[in-house]
């Protein structure tokens, strides 16, 4: 690997997991060894929590219940809007209510295997271990999970799992779990235990004497830039799928909080691990602002096909059976339409690249229900998927019972994130990172129904136990806005804001975001190759340069200015994009959501290189023009056997 892309620094390691005891005992042992803060002292300790999603909301509520003074920040108008609200499918838990052989160990194993052997055993095991308590907690809060007629909780199998361990609330599981956490948080706000900061965006991290001690924020309504201090800072700011511009994430989802922390020294791990979901509604035009995911369950009854001939734009009903290519059934006779997400996505891209895609811009494949309707009748299909057909109809104006659906893959989750140890602490003491914002539990690919599990595990159970070990040394010496570190951070935020407003160029922020997103989707999306990534790495600095010389940001700093907010976020996405491409280029293997064209089996499947790449790539920020520094954390597998995935 040429040296100009990055340099290699010292290896790093997680030193907090008690490796001297067997895997199943480690979490209990860690809790036992962690120092505690006695209840009377907790009132003297303050914690900043950024974000109110499943991770942030549950953490803020729980820490406040424990007696810490919590300051909670979020950019939306209400904590209930956090993007966790949009998760559809469900949440896994090793309850084994179905008596089908599930166990903590099996969920752990499935998570590590699903992550294509690029996650930490310790973290994945703990995730499986606390999963059951999450369900108990949510039920106690009144989360209306689906139930059976006997009044007990219903489970379903999800994402090809062989056991039924997924708990769900119709297609709105994320919403219901989030409201559980939100209500717990609002209760603490009402009791005066949480200081709330709505419509407030974190724009910098304040590091004092090597410790994270505060954040600089901009109030989005008044434009006021202020500093806030605490004994510890918790980032729960979500993922960065919006680097692709079009994704299933909410429009406001961004990497800014995490990226600014990265610029202050926090390592960013595995940024190239992104997950692409195969069943989304395709793009319909240049104006498109976001993509909508439809439940994967549709593939249970739908058949995926494209015309055999390229450019065949006949109505799908007029294309005879022998002129259709059911390419998943053809290529994967054993799994057919039910191959895992990454394979289904890549195959769709391949047929579209051949020019056989369907729909207005050729980026779509058919998901056809006519066989299923002929077999079981439209009423049965309606009962199963009615809400999805309605949603499809609302967005496209088409009746999918008649025409079938058109689907295309879209980015919807990022496994990479800030590096954390077993305690969920970043390499900056006092900076903790939870939920999708960290990298820790999912490896290179996330299993269905595991994101909700991780967010809530971190927020309800893991962080509240581990943060005390750090806070036991507190309270730390008081810091206020006159501290040089705070003054410097605040000034840099003001300077950036002023600079963005002063450029007054000729291109909108959105046009840069769209260009960056398309570049990333084409070259660092479902399939990555060295030439493509090099091309991206040539282009991104040019976009960055043009952005900082030619962007036009409207309005002023001192008012509600959504254009200015967007500009700051896009500036960070551009920098992140470059690091993602470096990471993707340096990882010359295919694993999980990261598919390198150079690393595949003769059948065209992802080929891992465990000998050279069984590590976490944690990147250290360097100023523009200097290559980032790679710190490797070796991944050791004591309890699972590394194997190549096969779905033929």
């Amino acid at each position: 690997m040429p040296l100009e892309l990055f340099t290699v620094g010292e290896p790093i390691a997680d030193t907090t997991a008690p490796r001297d005891v067997p895997l199943p005992d480690r979490w209990n042992e860690r809790k036992f060894r962690a120092r505690l803060v006695n209840p009377a002292n907790r009132r003297r300790l303050s914690i900043i929590v950024v974000g109110t999603g499943l991770a942030g909301g549950s953490a803020a509520a729980t820490l406040a219940e424990m007696g810490y003074r919590v300051k909670n920040f979020w950019f939306q108008d209400s904590p209930r809007r956090a993007h966790s609200v949009a998760a559809q499918g469900g949440i896994n838990a090793a309850k084994n209510y179905r008596n089908d052989g599930d166990s903590v160990h099996r969920l752990f194993y499935d998570t590590v295997k699903g992550g294509d052997f690029r996650s930490r055993e310790d973290n994945s095991y703990r995730l499986a271990e606390v999963s059951a308590a999450i369900i108990d907690q949510a039920v106690a809060q009144g989360v209306p999970f689906a139930r059976e007629y006997g009044g007990l909780l219903d489970n379903r199998s999800f994402g090809g799992a062989q056991v039924s361990r997924t708990f769900y609330a119709r297609g709105q599981t994320g919403q219901q779990l989030l409201y559980g956490a939100y209500q717990a948080l609002e209760r603490q706000i009402g009791l005066g235990n949480v200081e709330q900061h709505p419509r407030t965006e974190m724009l910098d991290l304040i590091v004092v004497d090597g410790k994270a001690r505060g954040i600089v924020v901009r109030h989005l309504i008044t434009g006021e830039i202020t500093s806030h201090f605490a004994d510890a800072v918790v980032l729960a700011s979500g993922g960065y799928s919006n680097v692709f511009y079009l994704s299933t994430n909410a429009k406001g989802s961004n990497v800014t909080a995490a990226w600014r922390a990265h610029k202050r020294g926090a390592l960013f791990a595995n940024p190239c691990y992104t997950q692409i979901h195969p069943t989304c509604i395709p793009v319909s035009g240049d104006y498109q602002s976001k993509l909508t995911l439809m439940s994967e369950s549709l593939r249970n009854d739908g058949r995926v096909w494209v015309p055999k001939e390229r450019g065949d734009d006949r109505n799908p009903k007029d294309i005879p059976e022998d002129e259709r290519d059911y390419y998943l059934e053809r290529n994967y006779p054993a799994f057919g339409n039910l191959v895992p997400r990454d394979i289904a996505s890549r195959q769709a891209k391949a047929v579209c690249d051949e020019g056989r895609g369907v729909g207005p811009n050729g980026l779509g494949v058919y998901l056809d229900f006519s066989d299923a309707i002929a077999r079981v009748g439209q009423a049965a299909i309606e009962a199963k998927y009615g809400n999805l057909f309605d949603m499809y109809n609302r967005i496209t104006g088409e009746n999918a019972y008649e025409t079938g659906m058109r689907i295309y893959p879209a980015v919807h989750y990022t496994m990479g994130g800030l590096w954390v140890d077993y305690d969920l602490s970043s390499n900056i003491p006092g900076l903790f990172v939870i939920g999708e914002a960290n990298f820790s539990d999912q490896g290179a690919n996330r299993l269905g129904a595991s994101a909700l599990m991780q967010g809530l595990a971190d927020g309800y159970f893991v962080l509240p136990s581990t943060i005390s070990n750090y806070l036991a040394d507190g309270p730390f010496p008081a810091v206020d806005a006159t501290h040089p570190a705070a003054v410097e951070a605040e000034q840099s935020v003001r300077a950036q804001t002023e600079r963005l407003l002063s450029i007054n160029g000729t291109r909108t922020v959105a046009s840069f975001h769209r260009e960056l997103g398309k570049l990333m989707w084409d070259l660092c999306g479902m399939e990555r190759s060295e030439p493509g990534l090099r091309k991206a790495l040539d282009r991104i600095p040019e976009i960055r340069h043009e952005f900082w010389t030619n962007v036009k940001v409207s309005g002023e700093q001192g008012i509600f200015n959504q254009n200015l907010e967007h500009a700051g976020r896009v500036a960070d996405f551009i920098e992140l994009a470059e690091l993602m491409c470096v990471d993707a280029l340096h990882r010359n293997e295919s694993c999980g959501g990261h598919f390198r064209a150079e690393s595949q089996t003769p059948e065209g499947e992802a080929l891992r290189d465990d000998e050279n790449y069984a590590y976490v790539a944690a990147w250290e920020y360097t100023p523009e023009g200097e290559p980032p520094v790679l710190h490797r954390e070796a991944l050791e597998y004591e309890y699972v056997h590394l194997a190549q995935r096969s779905y033929k």
């Binding site: 009402g190 709330q196 900061h197 709505p198 407030t200 924020v217 109030h219 008044t222 006021e224 202020t226």
Partner: protein, 233 residues
């Protein structure tokens, strides 16, 4: 400007500050008035049995409970209960109306109705007109103060005199139609306010509202229209 969100406002802790309590007052007082209206309507229909029957019914109201009770005791109890119901109904309405005005300080430039009925939309203005009607009605037929034949007459005479007059009859008819609309919404609303509606009962409750409103309206219109068309004289 502050970055802190608006302070939580102190909740309203008085029982009668509570909007649901106000609505309950409205519902209960409304039900009392409906029960009265049903009795009143049945009494009115005595007009079809001729002057003697009507006048003796009118006299009977004043002598209920005699000789155990002093004259007109029952009547005054009814009157006081009714007066209290009217006052409370009015207080609740005005109080809720004022709350609603505070709740929308800036009006919409354009506002459309999606599903609200004519009855629900007119319930406040209709109520106000009905209040004026009641005052006139008492002056006219109870006290006879504004009645064409004056107060020194039998109830039956006053009835016939009033409804032989076309403008008075028209005012009465319009008021009864408004009453019907008021009851159509009011009965449904009272049931809902008292927490007695649900999806299963929705049709039944709406049916009941239409039925009671219809019976009362038609029942009250029979006598004046019969007078106006000369069926009663």
């Amino acid at each position: 400007m502050t970055t802190q969100p608006a302070q939580r406002r102190a909740p309203k802790t008085g029982r009668f500050d509570n909007s649901v309590v106000k609505k309950t007052v409205m519902a209960v007082s409304g039900i009392i008035m409906i029960l009265y209206l049903l009795a009143h309507m049945v009494g009115n229909l005595k007009a079809f049995s001729g002057p003697e029957s009507f006048n003796s019914y009118s006299g009977w109201i004043r002598t209920i409970g005699e000789p155990a009770l002093p004259a007109q005791t029952a009547l005054w109890i009814i009157r006081l209960v009714l007066l209290a119901a009217v006052v409370l109904h009015f207080w609740a309405a005005i109080s809720l109306w004022r709350q609603a005005r505070r709740a929308r300080p800036v009006p919409y430039v354009t506002k459309k109705r999606v599903q609200q009925s004519f009855a629900s939309r007119t319930v406040r203005w209709g109520g106000l007109i009905l209040a004026l009607f009641i005052i006139w009605h008492i002056l006219d037929l109870t006290l006879g103060a504004v009645n064409p034949v004056g107060h020194d007459s039998t109830p039956y005479d006053r009835l016939v005199a009033s409804f032989s007059n076309i403008p008075i009859t028209l005012f009465y008819v319009v008021s009864m139609v408004l009453l019907g609309l008021h009851l159509r919404h009011g009965i449904f609303a009272a049931t809902q306010t008292l927490g007695q509606t649900n999806k299963r009962r929705e049709r039944a409750v709406n049916g009941l509202a239409y039925l009671v409103a219809g019976v009362i309206t038609v029942g009250f219109l029979l006598v004046p229209l019969s007078v106006a068309f000369g069926l009663i004289d």
